[in-house]
Structure formats: structure tokens, C-alpha cells
């Protein structure tokens, strides 16, 4: 197994997915199976090869710093689950 149950549990916590025990078990098997198929990648010689983050040769696209209309506040808040005084209401971050 290229990935252990403990690792899956750890990644699940990082991703905040709230996975059940059954999901952890299933994902351990499935992710291991998928990663097994990726083994051949390790054998490819990539010495001195630059990584591609992006297929386009575009860098640092700039625009002028000019004022333009943007989304109205009410529109921006129209899908928020809880709104108060024109702001999104969130749960306390610090206990």
C-alpha cells in the first residue's frame, strides 16, 4: 500500500472533509490503487527540466490602476448564509 490509513486520516483532516470511518477505509484502498498506477512517473528522467505551472508564456499581466464599477455589496452578499448590517456573519474563530 503506497498510502496508509493514518495518512488518509491526516489528509482528510487537512482538507476538512469530515470523512466517516467507512470513507477513510474505502479511500485508503482507492487512493493506493490510483497511486500504484503513477509509479512509472518516478522513472522518467527530469534532470534539468523546468516544471510547467501553466501552458501559456504569459507573465505578470498588468492593468492600469483605474476606478471601474464593481459588484454591488447587496449583490455580493446575496448568496451568503447569514448577513448582518451589510456584512457576512461568521462563527467565532477563537474560542
Amino acid at each position: 500500500m503506497p498510502i496508509s490509513r493514518e495518512q488518509v486520516l491526516h489528509i482528510g483532516r487537512l482538507a476538512r472533509l469530515g470523512l466517516s470511518d467507512a470513507e477513510i477505509d474505502r479511500l485508503t484502498v482507492q487512493l493506493s490503487d490510483i497511486l500504484d498506477h503513477f509509479d512509472a512517473l518516478a522513472a522518467v528522467d527530469t534532470e534539468g527540466v523546468e516544471p510547467t505551472a501553466h501552458p501559456l508564456p504569459l507573465h505578470n499581466v498588468m492593468r492600469s490602476d483605474s476606478v471601474a464599477p464593481s459588484l454591488k455589496r447587496d449583490d455580493a452578499l446575496s448568496n451568503a448564509p447569514e448577513v448582518e448590517d451589510g456584512l457576512i456573519r461568521v462563527r467565532a474563530v477563537l474560542e
Binding site: I3, Q7, V8, I11, G12, L14, A15, R16, L17, G18, L19, E23, L27, Q30, L31, D33, I34, L35, H37, F38, A40, L41, A42, V44, T46, V49, E50, P51, T52, A53, H54, P55, L56, L58, V61, R63, L71, D75, A76, S78, N79, A80, P81, E82, I88, V90, R91, A92, V93, E95
Partner: protein, 485 residues
């Protein structure tokens, strides 16, 4: 007499301009067709009948005023990850079940301004992750050629709607094959443009270095016309290529004699169905008879690594993009406990199995200790794949391959085996990884089901692949062959 919903977009355009029928009559014909077949196909998540009729009335006014464009009055299906102001946009997910976008995507703005008609929001695999449209929170879409089979994915709703007559044309999106594979399985034409050709502004993100919106239509001419309509530069997307866009329709109807076509042998692998192989062999013979120089002695050895590269990079980008669904700003919000509990409950309830699987794969590939081994390695091999294509295009005008190894498979067959599902994209992943344009068009049937031919072009050269596709389609004589639903 044939029904209006059976027309291609350009045939409909001719009829509209000649006043043989009105845009309202055309839209009513399509809506009646949706009423008749939608319970068997499930191509749409949300129908927008009233909006469609309103847009059709506006289209008729434009024909009367002489301000119509080639897309005016054409009924479209719009993939449900393309945000539409005031019209629910779900991305096929429970997470966005009540999401009403407060703005329009660039592409929807473009077709709306051109006077197109939106019939509805097309079904898709959740967040565009899948190859069968079975991973939709709104039920699977069925293949109009055989409703016991999948339409492909993730733009399965868009492709099925075009094939079933539930629209005349559609917008889809392609990350690793999500336009071309369903187009192939539904017997229609689909184009994944060069990365950067079409703005991603207002497209719900999956893999940002791969996602690209493109057209699905009943023939090559329609796909070319739609690309002209949606492909303008957009400063709101910093990856929108500012290079000038040639007129795609200019390439149609031109001879293809002398075109150099490479056929990479790595695409003819074990697992390709014999019926697919036969249709591809016939297609290569047809291209030769049209005067093309077809070279089957081409090798692209990096091809075999494209699947691993894609399934490391796309999930990594997805894990980052989908971190925004936290139940705070918009979308599903479970609100019973602390902030962290709410976030976990929201994501547990909101995401389906495949989305969770890909987030997990991505977080793993990006996590401490595995970043170099997986993510960085995949990015380097991505460079090698791109370089190999670049070298090939110094010798060839286009590359031709099958679009998929097999025809449409039965619903449920690959649902429990994620890797088997991923293998469906094996021929569409390499060009996606390299950001190249690729067209899929029908090249015949195998066991009564459509087979797709893929034509891959050099960066920015949609023109050549549309030119070759158009000539091929004309020689085959099977354009606009609708499913017998």
C-alpha cells in the same frame, strides 16, 4: 417534413434570415422536444423556458431590425458551471444547489449579446470531475443513442442535449477531455480550444491551468461559428491570450490536400475496442483519399505518462480551488456547531464521492514530503509532454487519434472503479496537459454507437483542425446524424 429542432445552427440561421420561421417557433420546437425526451435523457439541471422564449422574441426583433449575428435565435444548452446572472448555477453539486450568481460569465455574456437563446443549464459531473455524468448530484444523464449507457462526461448534459435535439448547440468545458469524450460518445462535434483562447471569467474552477470552455455542435461549421462568437480576449481573465483571433469560418470549405498528418502509435494500445480501431483505420484512409500525407510512423513516448501527470496536477489544483467552499460566503452552509465543525459538516454534506477522492489525491500530492515526488515531478513531465508535441508540430500540421478507446459504456459499469473511469480520458489527456486545441468529430458507428475521431492542433491553430475536420465530415457525409431516440 423535418422538425425545426433537427436543424444545425447554421441551417436554422439560414431559415431565420429567410423568415421561413421565427426564433420563437424554433425555440418552441426545441422546448417541445425537451418535454418529449427529457425524462429519458436528463440533460438539464435547470430549464429556463421563460427566459428562452423572451430571448427568442428579442432575437426576432433583431432579425426585423437587421442586427442579427450568426448566433442570434439559436437555442443553446449551457453547462452548469458557466455562471449565469439570476439563473441557478450548481456545477452539478449539492454544494451549490441554491446558488444564484450575481454576475455573468464572459462566455454567457458573449452568446447573450450575440442574441442566442438559453434553453437551460446542462447536467455535468460534479465540479466537472468525471467521464460519465454519473457523478452529478442531480441524477445521471443518459446517452440518447442508448439510454442504458452513459453520455460521457463531464459535459455529458451538453453533448446529450445536442444529440437528442434538446438544443441546437451547447457550451461545455474541457479540463482533461470533458468536451471531446462526451461529444465522441454522443456522436456530435466538440472542440477544446487552445488554453487561453476562451475566457475563464465566471467559470467555476476545477483545474485552473487546464480548464477551457468550448463549443459542442452537430457539425464542424457550427463549432467554428460558436468559437468565433465566444473567443474574444477578456482582460478579466489574466490567462486570456491577447493575441488576435483569426476568423474560424474562413478555414471552412478549403482543400486539405498536402496537409501532413501524424498518427502517434502510442494511442493504438491494448484496450482499444476493435470497432473503434476499424473506424479510425477507415478515417485515415479517407484523409489520404483527400490528399493528406498520413504518417503512422510517429512515436510520442511521453504519451503514456499523461494520465499520471493529469491526475496529479488537476486534483492538486482542484483541492486548492475547492477550499473556497467553506459554508461562510455562499453555497451550502451547515450551521450547528463551531466554525471548524460547520466547515467539515458543510464539505461532508456538500461534496460527492468523486470530488472528495480528487481533493484527497490533490492534498496528498501537495503535502509536505510528497510535493517533490508527485506534484513537482508531474509538472516537470508536463514540460516533457509539451516539448514532445512542440517538436512533432515542426513536422506535422495536425495529429489524428481516436477520441476514446471504446464506445459509450453501460450506466454503473465503471462507477466503483475510479481508475477504470480515468482510463476513459487516456486519449484526451495529453493535448490537455500541453494546452493544445483538439477537435472530436463523429467518424462512424461501432455496434450501433458513435465513434469519435480526434484531431489535435498546434498552439493557437484551431483553424487547421477545423479545416481538416470540415473536409473529413464532408467526405464522410454523416454530418448532423441525430440519435434515434
Amino acid at each position: 417534413m423535418s422538425e425545426l429542432w433537427e436543424l444545425t445552427a447554421h441551417e436554422a440561421q439560414d431559415g431565420l434570415r429567410a423568415r421561413a420561421f421565427s426564433a420563437v417557433e424554433l425555440t418552441e420546437s426545441v422546448l417541445a422536444r425537451v418535454d418529449a425526451v427529457e425524462d429519458r435523457v436528463n440533460a438539464y439541471v435547470t430549464r429556463t423556458d421563460e427566459l428562452a422564449l423572451e430571448q427568442a422574441r428579442e432575437a426576432d426583433a433583431r432579425f426585423a431590425a437587421g442586427t442579427a449575428t450568426p448566433l442570434t435565435g439559436i437555442p443553446f444548452a449551457v453547462k452548469d458551471l458557466i455562471v449565469t446572472k439570476g439563473v441557478r448555477t450548481t456545477a452539478g453539486s449539492r454544494m451549490l444547489g441554491d446558488f444564484i450568481p450575481p454576475y455573468d460569465s464572459h462566455v454567457y455574456e458573449q452568446i447573450k449579446r450575440a442574441g442566442a437563446v438559453m434553453v437551460g443549464k446542462a447536467n455535468m459531473d460534479e465540479f466537472a470531475m468525471g467521464s460519465s455524468t454519473e457523478h452529478s448530484a442531480y441524477g445521471p444523464t443518459r446517452n440518447p443513442w442508448d439510454t442504458a449507457r452513459v453520455p460521457g462526461g463531464s459535459s455529458g448534459g451538453s453533448a446529450a442535449a445536442v444529440a437528442a435535439g434538446e438544443c441546437l448547440a451547447a457550451l461545455g468545458s474541457d479540463t482533461g477531455g470533458s468536451i471531446r469524450q462526451p461529444a465522441a460518445l454522443c456522436g456530435v462535434v466538440g472542440l477544446d480550444p487552445t488554453y487561453g483562447r476562451v475566457s475563464r471569467f465566471g467559470i467555476i474552477a476545477f483545474g485552473s491551468s487546464l480548464d477551457q470552455v468550448g463549443p459542442i455542435g452537430r457539425d464542424v461549421e457550427d463549432v467554428a461559428t460558436i468559437l468565433d462568437g465566444i473567443g474574444s480576449h477578456d482582460p478579466r481573465d489574466s490567462t486570456s491570450d491577447p493575441a488576435p483571433r483569426p476568423d474560424m469560418r474562413h478555414y471552412l470549405g478549403r482543400e486539405i490536400a498536402g496537409k501532413k498528418i501524424g498518427v502517434p502509435r502510442e494511442y493504438f494500445i491494448e484496450g482499444m475496442e476493435p470497432g473503434v480501431r476499424d473506424r479510425i483505420d477507415e478515417s485515415l484512409a479517407r484523409l489520404k483519399s483527400l490528399g493528406c500525407e498520413v504518417d503512422t510512423d510517429l512515436s510520442l513516448p511521453m504519451t503514456e505518462h499523461a494520465l499520471a501527470v493529469y491526475y496529479l496536477i488537476a486534483p492538486s489544483e482542484a483541492s486548492s480551488n475547492l477550499a473556497r467552499y467553506d459554508g461562510v460566503k455562499y453555497g451550502l452552509s451547515e450551521r450547528g456547531g463551531s466554525m471548524w465543525e460547520n466547515m467539515e459538516q458543510t464539505r461532508e454534506q456538500g461534496f460527492g464521492d468523486e470530488v472528495k477522492r480528487r481533493i484527497m489525491l490533490g492534498v496528498y500530492a501537495l503535502s509536505a514530503g510528497y510535493y517533490d515526488q508527485f506534484y513537482l515531478k508531474a509538472q516537470k513531465v508536463r514540460t516533457l509532454i509539451t516539448n514532445e508535441f512542440r517538436e512533432a508540430f515542426t513536422r506535422y500540421d495536425a495529429l489524428v487519434t481516436p477520441t476514446t478507446p471504446g464506445v459509450a459504456f453501460p450506466v454503473g459499469e465503471k462507477l466503483d472503479d475510479p481508475y477504470a473511469m480515468y482510463l476513459n480520458d487516456i486519449y484526451t489527456l495529453p493535448s490537455a496537459v500541453a494546452g493544445l486545441p483538439a477537435l472530436s468529430l463523429p467518424c462512424g458507428l461501432s455496434e450501433g454507437l458513435p465513434v469519435g475521431l480526434q484531431i489535435i492542433g498546434d498552439v493557437g491553430d484551431e483553424g487547421t483542425i477545423l479545416q481538416i475536420g470540415h473536409a473529413f465530415e464532408g467526405a464522410l457525409g454523416q454530418a448532423n446524424r441525430l440519435a434515434a431516440l
